[in-house]
Amino acid sequence: MDFGLSEDQREIQRTARELLAERARPERVREHAEAGRSDEALWRELRELGWPGIGVSERYGGQGLGQIELSILCEELGRSLAPVPFLPSALAATVIEQDGSDAQRERWLPGLASGETIGALGSSVDGVAELVIGGREASVFVLIHEDGAGRLLAAADADVSPVDTVDPTRSAARVSAGGAGEELGAGACSGLGRSLVSVSSELVGVCDRALQMTVEYVKDRKQFGVPVGSFQAVSHRCAQMLMDTERARSTAAYAAWAADSGSEQLAEAAAMAKATASDAGREVTASAIQAHGGIGFTWEADVHWLYKRAQIDAALLGGAKRHRARLAELLARQTALAPVEGAPAG
């Protein structure tokens, strides 16, 4: 068992972290969030580096790398909260590549891989997706119906109305398909599992940054003459934040590996990753605000951007409860198949 990243993967991680630490500084993120627009210059730069196509196969102009590499970028973008439509576009590309027909792939993947086209993915009920992240910029939508069937449509054919969410670091829209668009491949949506992993990885980045900011703050902030981080009520909260973050990290890593190794465990691993990361994202960022005290509740402290991103990501493609329900279904199915042995006497 080896959880370590390869040399190439670590290089991607290092490069991404350094670049975003420079180009997506908190003040810049805040500036774009307050103006309600994405960072065009940064997006151009990421396009030049080939980021949008990292997971798209080479035949469609991508880099042909795996979910592990895609997850690395998602985590770093989550850490920095960079105001770019990377995640929604990557989610759309993943599902089109995994579940689309050849014609659909040829039509959309080259543009998504180069970043010229922006895509977005949303969950829909009766053909309407109330909250599609990246929906304002997107020119192609993938809507996943409750039963798992996917629908693909160009923005021009959809009824798109912008929505302001609690998280202005990314745009959002309400998208109604009406009767427009076409079915996505067989409608099986095996790309959905991978998409859940990408969102989970972004949440890991959000958690990690929230923990790091909090630890720095409670070491520095003094009350009663000592750093507040020396009080166990505070330090044990931080320990819990690490627990939640590391649980989310290891389950997301497992799910990314399952995606790349063609494991049959992907459906279960992805549900587990999304449920774990959704809970972690909400708990850890809430704890970050609490441990910062009054300052954590202010606009200037920047902790709230993480809290807000975590809420959106936690809800995206289904929250923790929905994925636990999915897990329970899988467990019930396995239990029905497994022979009963050695159950303790009731």
Binding site: D2, F3, C238, A239, L242, S250, T251, W257, A325, V340
Partner: protein, 383 residues
């Protein structure tokens, strides 16, 4: 990243699995036969493991082990758990005492003590905790005074599992009262078979007695039974404590998995898997159990790759105890009132789990360790 076993790990696992399948253990003697009969059964089990070279695969070949890697050692404990066989009787000697001697012992000590640990001829126990020194271990007061070529020991120890069966006790005692508390401690091997050592069982909330109190009055320890030098006891004890959680976690993790599978099957039979509240709670337990497995393996992977554990090592025991407590509580809800009937396995598991967050480092202490050593938060100022 490769979350599969390597060919050598698979071969190791398969060899052990085959051996375990071919050497089915007789059923444990029932409760009425008493704890002594149960212990004799576990001792016999270790002898069979020993004869086949499976008592301590992690020990170096020169001391009678297989020189197993960390991963192989983890597989060993996973497989024992999966086969639902008990740990070897002399688990403290195998996991703690042996490795501590290998690090700190003299050649004579290694030659004298290691072989009977492995064969279960001599059982070991651990004399660290005291009534007034639990989490604050370095506050221990048991005194050892040098007299000629031997030490005279007086004091009290507590939570000593297996003391009534033990020949040797890993004893930490204060040899210098002038020094600050972490200094002035010495690590001894104390012969349990002497009048100066009295063992009294501690009855725990499950009704059984896994643990004991030791009353030590003018017990004698020859000078050659000092391990790691006089005044060096804290460092030697840390070696023991570091070994404590390493392998055991994998056996505990598999045991948790089996309990959860049993509980899910019970819930299924009672039609509760379709109840959203139970389904949610069981899925949450499944996620936690999987987290423990992943964190435990990730911790090992980090050690093998980078030579030191990541933050996971400190998290596994904390998460395990919390999860086992949640699981056994949910079991009471799922199984119903029968789970509270004295003597049933669920009532036992439910009561026993209460100790999990205390034994081997309380959850509060583990959180302190995470906060101070992993996150680098300022150390709590204490006396």
């Amino acid at each position: 990243m490769d979350l599969t076993f390597s060919p050598s790990e698979t071969a190791f696992r398969d060899e052990l699995r085959e051996w375990l399948a071919a050497n089915r253990l007789q059923d444990a003697p029932n409760g009425a036969a008493g704890e002594d009969a149960h212990y004799a059964w576990r001792r016999d089990w270790q002898r069979r493991l020993y004869d086949a070279g499976w008592a301590a695969p992690a020990w170096p070949v020169e001391y009678g082990g297989r020189g197993a890697t960390l991963s192989q050692s983890a597989i060993y404990f996973e497989e024992l758990g999966r086969a639902r066989v008990p740990l070897p009787a002399n688990v403290l000697g195998l996991l703690l005492g042996g490795p501590t001697l290998m690090t700190w012992g003299t050649p004579e000590q290694k030659e004298r003590y290691l072989p009977p640990i492995l064969s279960a001829e001599e059982i070991w126990c651990q004399g660290f905790s005291e009534p007034d020194a639990g989490s604050d271990l370095a506050a221990l007061k048991t005194r050892a005074v040098k007299r000629g070529h031997e030490w005279v020991v007086t004091g009290q120890k507590v939570w000593t599992s297996g003391a009534q069966y033990s020949k040797w006790c890993m004893l930490v005692a204060r040899t210098d009262t002038e020094m600050p508390k972490h200094k002035g401690l010495t690590y001894f091997l104390m012969d349990m078979e002497q009048d100066g050592v009295q063992v009294r069982p501690l009855r725990q909330i499950t009704g059984e007695s896994e643990f004991n109190e030791l009353f030590i009055e003018d017990a004698l320890i020859p000078d050659e039974n000092v391990v790691g030098g006089v005044g060096n006891g804290w460092k030697v004890a840390l070696t023991t404590l570091m070994n404590e959680r390493a392998g055991l976690g994998f056996a505990l993790q598999i045991r948790l998995r089996q309990l959860l599978d049993d509980l899910i099957a019970t819930a299924g039979r009672r039609g509760l898997l379709d109840d959203p509240l139970y389904a949610d709670a069981l899925a949450e337990l499944h996620m936690r159990t999987e987290s423990i497995r992943l964190l435990a393996w990730k911790g090992l992977s980090d050690v093998e790759r980078y030579g030191q554990p990541g933050p996971e090592g400190s998290l596994v025991k904390w998460l395990w105890s919390d999860t086992n407590q949640r699981l056994t509580q949910l079991a009471v809800d799922i199984v119903g009132p029968q789970a509270l009937t004295w003597g049933t396995s669920w009532s036992y598991e439910f009561l026993r789990a209460r100790g999990n967050s205390i034994e081997g480092g309380t959850t509060e202490v583990l959180k302190n360790i995470v906060a101070e050593r992993v996150l680098g938060l300022p150390r709590l100022k204490a006396g």
